[in-house]
């Protein structure tokens, strides 16, 4: 730090030897770790929707500004489910805890921490080992900061979701999610094609531009670090 009256041109530090070697090792080590992390990530699988309850999130069924719970019976939870997506809408969503029961036995449960935003929340649950028809999906909301809305479709009261003793005016939209069968890496070509759509100058060339820009950025980063910090 320099004093306020420090008017001379900035100077290069003069103390000690130039730690080029240490900087080089840190740079190579850091970038190697990043490459390994990216590689590991690409071997993972994206989540896919394996089933829905056939209800579209087209109408607001209810909203709550306090901690609340609701249940929906008659759900078929497919084998392999690792997350359940609920049609809840919030700007800053509360904590959501999901419990899935069948015949009075809990066979999947999970929580999503608060702070989510959007028109749905995907709650990870323990992996469901076998398809379970006639299940009851219950969720409990923590104290929200604002109203949380439940979306679904209006149905006859007898099949509607319930909030305690009260019947909601319909059923909530629910999706069942699990990791897909293929890795991100094997989907690379498909994603490249997809990235070329919906943009200016459509075509998968955009991926090569991105790769070139990222490579150039890394090259600049390395050169600058070795020159200035080395």
């Amino acid at each position: 730090l320099a004093s306020a009256a420090h008017l001379e041109v900035p100077h290069i530090p003069t103390s000690g030897c130039r730690p080029t070697r240490r900087v080089g090792i840190a740079l190579v080590g850091g970038l190697t770790l990043v490459a390994i992390a990216v590689g590991l990530t690409l071997t993972r699988s994206p989540t896919t929707v394996i089933a829905t309850n056939g209800i579209a999130g087209e109408a607001e069924l209810a909203s709550t500004s306090s901690d609340a719970a609701a249940c929906q019976a008659g759900e078929t939870v497919p084998a392999g489910t690792t997350a359940i997506r609920l049609a809840l809408v919030a700007e800053i969503g509360p904590r959501v805890a999901v419990t899935v029961t069948a015949g009075g036995t809990v066979f999947a449960r999970g929580t999503h921490s608060r702070g989510w935003t959007g028109a749905s929340v995907t709650v990870p649950v323990e992996r469901v080992s076998r398809t379970t028809p006639g299940a009851k999906v219950c969720f409990a909301l923590g104290q929200p900061l604002e109203a949380v809305a439940i979306f679904g479709r209006k149905t006859p009261v007898r099949v509607a979701a319930t909030a305690g003793a009260q019947k909601l005016p319909g059923r909530m939209a629910i999706e069942y999610v699990r990791p897909g069968p293929t890795s991100w890496l094997s989907l690379a070509a498909m994603i490249a094609r997809h990235m070329g759509r919906g943009h200016a100058w459509p075509g998968p060339w955009v991926v090569f531009v991105l790769l070139a820009a990222m490579t150039a950025s890394v090259a600049l980063l390395c050169r600058l670090i070795l020159r200035e910090l080395g």
Partner: protein
């Protein structure tokens, strides 16, 4: 002379923002449809927007429809345009001769000043005859250039404020150049991109004046930057108290150093800074419009609200833990962590593109040593810091002014919306201070290990940016 390293930081920031501009689907950045509508209105008619309605031009509404914007926005289960049939429909519809005027509607952007949008009419007009998406991409690339300026001024700010360790300037510059939120916002059509650049320029000019002394030229330059800021985005108002304090302190110091004309320079700087706003008000009054134009409608909201004490309490809790005696405005929430920190770690798209929850916990691990390193450097240099307390007070006032502005605006919607403007992007005008924190954190590791710590910080931020881009790709195209 601007060092070559500063230009490299600018190039990296531009390249990064340009990548974001290609990755993020059109109109999947907060308020981008509104900002595009403003620029289009200006380019097509030469007139400012007159309404905050959402009835945009026929061509924009067609693009929004064919891009499934309403279905994709805030619904992370829905991908962007996926099939070749959707692409063909989009291309065919946008090639048709659709209306390009919007009747003065620019949504939430309508009340913003016109400078950013005026600049955006250049790429808009350059692509005359091209489709809306080409125009939008060129406009995004212009915003990306502003990310480059932000990194450039951050580098220069760190150089002026921490001049003794040259290598640390690069840590600050590159750290900001790889900030994913800067890339995401500057890879879109949004005046925030220019606000970040102008704010960084203001901080640099102030730091330079504190270090080298005030001159007529530097005062006029600061005034000009303030004028540009006021013409860029209303949020710049939050920086004014700190900038004003800085000018007063600098003028007083210069006057003490036997330059009695310093107060004249101060008046000159203030006049230059206030000129655009004054001119705007005079033109409005002469043409029998409200003095602040469309902003007057927004300002009417102020005063309809509750107590001042309630507002202060709310603004405090928006950033810090509640104190005894305060109402529970965010019950159970640690806003600094859950709104601001997590928002910086990863919240893209229309706040619908996030990392898995564990990433936000993991991010605390590197954040802690960065904070500790910075603290150590500050403590070790407390003596010279004390001599610079006036300058530090100015940076604190600039930060506080912006935070209070964001909090006060959010309070207008509270409690219907708990934190309307609780978005980390609104604090990015303070990015140069983050650059200084990163540089200090590296220096906190000591002379021997400082450069190694600096490399680690830069590589960490590069990784943060890379994974943020991958997460966004997975969300929209996976």
């Amino acid at each position: 002379v601007i060092p070559r390293a500063a230009w490299v930081c600018a190039l990296v920031a531009f390249s990064n923002a340009a990548c974001w501009s290609f990755i993020t689907p059109p109109f999947e950045v907060p308020d981008e449809p509104d900002h595009f509508a403003y620029a289009q209105q200006l380019a097509e008619t030469g007139r400012l927007p007159t309404s905050n309605g959402k009835r945009f031009s026929q061509v924009e509404l067609t693009a929004l429809r064919d891009l499934n914007q309403a279905e994709v926005r805030q619904r992370p289960q829905n991908l962007s345009v996926f099939s070749s049939a959707q692409q063909q429909r989009l291309s065919r519809d946008l090639a048709a001769p659709l209306g390009r005027t919007n009747g003065g509607n620019a949504g939430v952007a309508a009340s913003e000043p016109p400078l950013f949008y005026t600049l955006q009419t250049i790429p808009y007009r350059l692509a005359a005859g091209a489709s809306l998406l080409v125009r939008l991409e060129l406009m995004r690339l212009l915003s990306s250039l502003m990310a480059g300026l932000t990194a450039l001024f951050t580098f220069l700010f760190v150089r002026e404020s921490l001049p003794s360790e040259r290598w640390a300037w690069t840590v600050g510059g590159l750290g900001v150049a790889f900030a994913p939120l800067l890339g995401f916002m500057s890879g879109s059509v949004n005046p925030d991109a220019m606000l970040y650049a102008v704010s960084a320029a203001l901080l640099y000019c102030l730091a330079r004046a504190f270090r080298r002394g005030l001159t007529l030229r530097s005062t006029c330059l600061i005034g000009a930057v303030i004028a540009v800021g006021l013409l860029t985005k209303l949020n710049f108002i939050g920086l004014l108290p700190g900038a004003g304090l800085g000018l007063i302190l600098l003028a007083r110091r210069a006057a003490r150093a036997h330059r009695p004309t310093a107060y004249g320079w101060l008046a000159c700087g203030v006049a230059i800074g206030a000129a655009p706003a004054a001119l705007y008000a005079i033109v409005n009054v002469l043409s029998h419009h409200p003095a602040l134009g469309i902003v007057s409608d927004t300002s009417n909201v102020v005063g309809h609200h509750r107590s001042v004490a309630g507002e202060i309490s709310y603004i405090w809790q928006l950033y810090l833990p509640r104190l005894p005696g305060m109402a529970h405005d965010f019950p159970g929430y640690l806003t600094a962590r859950e709104i601001w920190f997590d928002g910086y770690v990863g919240l893209y798209g229309w706040f619908d593109t996030v990392f898995p929850a564990w990433v936000y916990h993991l991010a605390l691990v590197p954040a802690a040593p960065i904070a500790l390193g910075c603290l150590r450097a500050l403590v070790e240099n407390r003596a010279p810091l004390l001599k610079r307390r006036g300058e530090l007070l100015v940076y604190a006032a600039i930060s506080l002014g912006l935070m209070v502005l964001v909090g006060a605006d959010s309070y207008l919607q509270f409690p219907t919306v708990p934190a309307e403007y609780g978005q980390t992007r609104y604090l990015l005008p303070l990015l140069p201070l983050l650059g200084a924190v990163l540089a200090l954190a590296a220096r906190g590791a000591g002379r021997r290990w400082g450069p190694v710590a600096g490399v680690s910080i830069v590589v960490l931020l590069f990784a943060h940016d890379l994974f943020s881009q991958l997460q966004t790709i997975a969300r929209y195209y996976g």
